[in-house]
Structures are given as C-alpha cells and as structure tokens.
Amino acid sequence: MSLDFTAHVPARDFNVRFSLATGETVALMGPNGAGKSTLLSVLAGLLRPDCGSATLDGKTLYDDGEWLAPHTRGIVLLAQDALLFPHLSVLENVAFGPRCAGVPRSAARKEAHRWLREVDAADLAHRRPVSLSGGQAQRVAVARALAAEPALLLLDEPLAALDISVAPMVRRMLRRVLEGRSAIIVTHDIVDALLLADRVVIVDGGRIVEDGPTRLVLERPRSSFAAGLAGVNLMTGTTTRDGLRTPGGVQLAALQDRDLPAGEEAAAVFSPRAVAVHRLRPTGSPRNVLAVTITDLEQHGGRTTVRADHLSAEITTASAAELDLLPGAEVYFSVKSAEVEIYLR
C-alpha cells in the first residue's frame, strides 16, 4: 500500500478513509462542496485535519500530535490554474523543485529541460509565464510538478480552466505521464476519469459513497452522483475503422474527423437525449441501432428516462406513452453516429 488515509474535520462534516496502491491513479469525483479539495489540501499538508492519520510509503504524514510540513511530504499539488511563478522563467519554474531538493543549479536546469521535453514544451524554456497560453502554462505546471519527483501527485481539476480545443491534448499528455504514477485527480469530467484513472472514488457530503474500478462505477452506478455522471451512456470495447465494437459484438459507428487506429481499447459516450426509442427496427438514415429490453422507466416532468441495463434514453413522456413502453418490453434504441464520441483508453 502506498497511501493510507483517514481524515476527520467535524467543522466541515468531513470523514473519509481510503488507500491507494503504488502506481495507481484514482479519480476523485463528487458534487461541488463535497470535500474533494479539502481532501487534497489535507494530503498536501495545507490543511490540518482534527483527527485521522495518513501514511505515504510508510512515512507518517500526520497522526495524533504528529504533523509533517508540506515541503517534507513529497506530495505535489497541481491546481486548476497553472500558478507558475510569474517572476521566474519557464525553465526556472521547472527547476524549482530540484533546486529545493538541493540539486546544483546546472543539474537542476538539465532536469528541467528533460521534463519540459517530456510534456512537449521544450521550446518554451526561456519564455516568461505571462507570455504562455493556458494550455502551454498547464503543460509547464505538469513538468514542474513532475520535476519535484513526488511520491504522490495531486491534481485538482487540471483541465477545467483550459479551452475545450486544447484540453484533449493536455489530457493525452497527462495520460502518458501519469502512467504508473501514484496520483489522485479531482475531476468533474467523466472522460478524465475514464482516460486517466484506474479507479474512481466518489465523495458526497464529506463521505465516500462509491469506490471501485472506473468502468464498473460508471456503468453500474450505485450512488446518485455516479448515476448523474452516468447521465451519459457509456460503452466500452475495441476500436474499428469507423467506431467501436463491444465484447458482446455490438457495433457502434461514430462520426470522426480522422480514422481511428483499429483494435485499440476505447470507450464510446453519448447522451441519453440523443437516443430515440422505437418499437420496430428503424430503417433509412445511418443510425446505430441497439436491440434492448427495458428494465426501468422513470418519469420526471415532461420527460421520461427509459433504462435498458446500463443504457438509457430520454424521450418526451408523450412519446413514451404513445410507444406504450413497459419494463420487459423489447425495443430498439437508435443514436446517430454524429452523436457518438469515441475516446481511446
């Protein structure tokens, strides 16, 4: 076990315990105000819990009366904002951690160059932080965090402040550098959880309500928050040229800008609102058609959610009535390929 953690902060009604294996990446999810950032602050040593204890690789971070200052913990916190030191160059920012660890200046710079290459930011070395775009700054922040060689890396919504046009590239980079690293990543994005984490822990109201392998938690949510996350439909499988094939043999086509590498592990995500429900197999326009059996119907206002195992469709209550839908009925879900997003895992 790499990390063992319990924390109790009565003032914030926060009571959480979990552990993390060496090299494991956990996605920490939950509604706003659930205590995710509190948890990261406690781990990083920026907030002192009233009681509880934590050990990292056998080193006590805090326990009754014991307390390790943040700079001696080997835990680096990467925030939503890059927070690069504005008075230092990019290179000096990345060399900051090694310098603090006592590495001589020239060696620290050499290490900084290496980490900048690692995050594809080698050409930014001599720039000033103010001159960087959001995506560039976050890359440098990742390099700076990694250069400090943390035993545990904490990421607090690292992609939330980025343009949607650059987030995927930074995510891919994170996926590469997080491989085999002990990390906790706070995120609101189901895609981050899918691509970056081995495990999902869901915190709600200061308690852990769900803890398990990412796919399982998202496909079979037990908590309302996970179910809300799973407000999207998720199917996993391997890529084909134009989409995804599930282990059960279901073929799902997705409209892609470029061809997918075939045979890769991937996940397909689409919104329940993009799903239409039919009594008879629809023909005509190019759609994905899935034969399903209704397991559950849930009406909220003018809309009805039609569940079939872990897939769901959201249609108007009027058309649900017209189709005469009942649990157990065999129907067809159809979704346009333009509505399906494929993510390589």
């Binding site: 990083a44 040593g45 200052a69 943040p70 700079h71 680096v76 030191f85 900051f96």
Partner: protein, 263 residues
C-alpha cells in the same frame, strides 16, 4: 482617449478643479517667489549643503531600517492570525495619524536621558537624544507605518497560492520567503520604501522635539528651512524648492514602479 460616455456631472468637475487649484497654486506661488539671481548661492551655502547632506543620509538610513523591520512586520500581519491582531495593527499604524511632535515627545521619554530605555542605554555609554541617531529614530518612527501599510496590502493581494505551490514543491518556509513571497511583492517593497523615504525627508516635528537643531548633526533640510525663514526668507524659499524637486523625483519614481507593475 475615445469618446466613451462618462456620465459625470459637470458641477463635480468644477469642484474637482477648485480642489486641484488649491494644491497647485501654492506651489506656483513658491516658484514665483524664488530669487533666481541668488538661487545657486543660497542652496550651496555651508549650512544649506550640510542640511541637505544630513537629510539625505538620515532619510536613506531610516528607509533602510524601515525595510529591515517593516518587511517582517507586514509579513507577520498579512500571513498570521492571532488574538489582538487588529489592535496591534492599529497601534503600529498610529504614527500615520499622530502629530509628529507627539511622536517626538514619546521618543524623548523612551530614549531621552530620563527616558524609559535612555537610562540603561546611558549606562552602556549610548546617548541617543539630540544626536544624528535621534534624527534617524524620529524619521523611522514616522515612516515605518507607510512601508508596513503598503506592503501588507501587496502581500494580501498576492495571496498565498503561490506560496502553497512552492511548499508542495519542496520549499521550506525560508526558501518560500526568499524565492517566492519577496520577489512577488518586490514592487510593493520598493514603492513602500519610496514612500518611507519621502516621509522621512519631510520629517520636522518629531525631529525638532527629539533631536533638536544642531547644524551638521541634527538640523535636516526642513529644520534649516524653518530656521532660515526667520533670518533670510529668500534662502528658505530656495531650499523649499529643492525639497519640492526631490519630492517630485520621488513621486515620479514611485509612479514608474507602479506603472511597471501594472498587469
């Protein structure tokens, strides 16, 4: 400047103009009153040069003391929370609003011969009152709050997020202070120091009360001006203009730093 509608009432402009005139006209009157034929002679007389030199030396020294003590004070006020902090801050900033002559009397009863600490200092062979050191103490007393106030504001604006990041990257408290906190508020330190210097340079009341007016020892430029006014008003005016010039220079430097710091 483009034609953006400001919505400012015209009468407000009139009042503002009257206020501005109130500040500018006296300075103009001063400049008009300068006897330019004797100007060079007046400002380079022995007593004037001694006073100017003493003023620059003591103000420089007290500015240094302000930075030395003011930075830790501002840091402690901005970054810690303790009982009675508000009261302490109010006390520390009191010299800002205190009449300087009161400050001078307070200093006299602290460091003077019969003062609280003066007695013990005299045993050690240190006699502060009516010495150049007293001038420096008087100036530091009135100028220190300026640095504390402006730097505490800068530190609060800078926030603690960079400091937290630095700590998690492995920097101990002293390293964080040296490599992150202080560089981040460097403009605040410089402009605070400039303000302190300006306040020290203009110090009159506390200096006169606590340090007296001995030529070359405690008679700074403001004291010299006050003295000359009795005997040679032209000399007083000429020296006043020198002080105005120094003040303008200080304001210009402070403004430049401020501009340079603007995002």
């Amino acid at each position: 400047m483009t034609g953006v509608y400001s919505g400012m009432p015209r009468w407000l402009l009139a009042v503002a103009a009257a206020g501005a005139l109130f500040l500018i006209v006296p300075l103009t009157a001063l400049v008009l009153r300068v006897d330019w034929s004797r100007f060079a002679e007046l400002v380079t007389s022995d007593s004037s040069r001694a006073a100017l030199l003493l003023s620059l030396q003591t103000s420089g020294t007290s500015t240094l003391l302000c930075v030395l003590f003011g930075v830790p004070m501002a840091y402690a006020l901005a970054r810690t929370r303790f009982r009675g902090q508000r009261v302490l801050r109010a006390l520390v900033l009191l010299p800002l609003v205190l009449p300087p002559v009161v400050g001078g009397i307070a200093l006299l009863y602290t460091f003077g011969r019969q003062g609280l600490l003066g007695e013990s200092l005299r045993v050690l062979g240190v006699d502060i009152a009516f010495s150049t050191a007293a001038v420096v103490l008087a100036q530091t007393f009135v100028a220190l709050p300026f640095l504390v106030l402006s730097l505490e504001g800068a530190l609060r604006t800078a926030g603690t997020r960079y400091e937290a990041v630095a700590a998690t990257l492995g920097a101990g408290p002293t390293t964080v202070l040296r490599r992150v906190s202080l560089p981040l508020v460097r403009p605040g330190i410089v402009s605070g120091a400039v303000l302190s210097f300006a306040r020290a340079l203009g110090e009159f009341g506390a200096t006169l009360t606590f340090a007296g007016s001995l030529q070359g020892v405690t008679r700074t430029l403001p004291l010299e001006i006050y003295l000359q006014r009795e005997t040679d008003p032209d000399a007083a005016v000429a020296l006043s203009l020198v002080l105005v010039a120094v003040a303008v220079l200080v304001v210009a430097v402070a403004h430049r730093i401020h501009e340079g710091n603007a995002p």
